[in-house]
């Protein structure tokens, strides 16, 4: 049993990396990245867990009762908040990519290819320039 959290964490990280490397849609890729982050939650809580221990809340327990490690739980709490922020930031970047290039497929976003994304090369020109000319 003691190796099972580490095995699950390794499996989640591996399947998340597999999803990232084979994804053809940026929104799907961000979901795979959140799977990688959930691997770190399982790993940290698996490190801090103790058998037959209480939650680290000593309101109705005497001090000195065996409790699980509260430092790891604080780290996991930070990890969850950072993960949500990272997901929001990457989704905004994905929306900007879609607005500029018109696609969400990473294969169609090679930076050195001409006319990528359906020939929207002039998208960064000044608005209304061609109509005035």
């Amino acid at each position: 049993m003691s190796w099972l959290p580490y095995a699950v964490a390794a499996w989640l990280f591996g399947i998340g990396l597999f999803g990232i490397s084979t994804s053809r849609n940026y929104i799907h890729l961000i979901g795979c990245l959140s799977v990688c982050q959930s691997a770190t939650y399982v790993l940290l809580l698996g490190i801090g867990y103790r058998w037959d221990a209480i939650a680290p809340i000593f309101y109705d327990h005497p001090p000195g009762t065996p409790a699980v490690d509260p430092v790891m739980q604080a780290l996991v709490l930070t990890d969850i908040v950072v993960g949500a922020t990272l997901t929001a930031l990457l989704l905004v970047l994905t929306l900007q990519v879609y607005k500029r290039r018109g696609t969400l497929d990473p294969e169609r976003l090679r930076p050195m290819r001409k006319n990528a994304g359906g020939g929207r090369v002039g998208a960064r020109q000044e608005p209304g320039t061609e109509a005035q000319l």
Binding site: H28, G31, L45, V68, I80, L95, T103, P127, G128
Partner: protein
């Protein structure tokens, strides 16, 4: 207790695999929410109630909502529109 923990850990692995293997992003949102719910129950079983509360708020509610908002923005935004939002107001005057 050990059997419950082992079952929840295996459920977490299965739901993470489901999130990766569901390739359609609109269906993947449901898998992400289910993954957050299973992680919440796992954290409660691992004696971490505050982490479970945070995961319930963030992983089950906030992150799927972000994905839904992003998907709706992608679906409504046509790729033929211009990149700048300022162009959106100017183009009827030019035309």
């Amino acid at each position: 207790m050990s059997a419950i923990l082992a079952l929840l850990l295996l459920l977490t692995a299965a739901s993470g695999t489901a999130v990766v293997l569901i390739r359609e992003p609109r269906r993947q949102v449901f898998a992400i929410g289910l993954n957050g719910l299973i992680l919440t129950v796992l954290f409660t079983a691992l004696q971490a109630p505050d982490v479970a509360l945070s995961e319930l708020a963030v992983g089950t509610a906030a992150v799927p909502l972000l994905f839904v908002v992003a998907l709706s923005a992608v679906r409504t935004a046509s790729p033929s529109q211009s990149a700048d939002p300022g162009d959106h107001t100017k183009s009827p005057e030019d035309a």
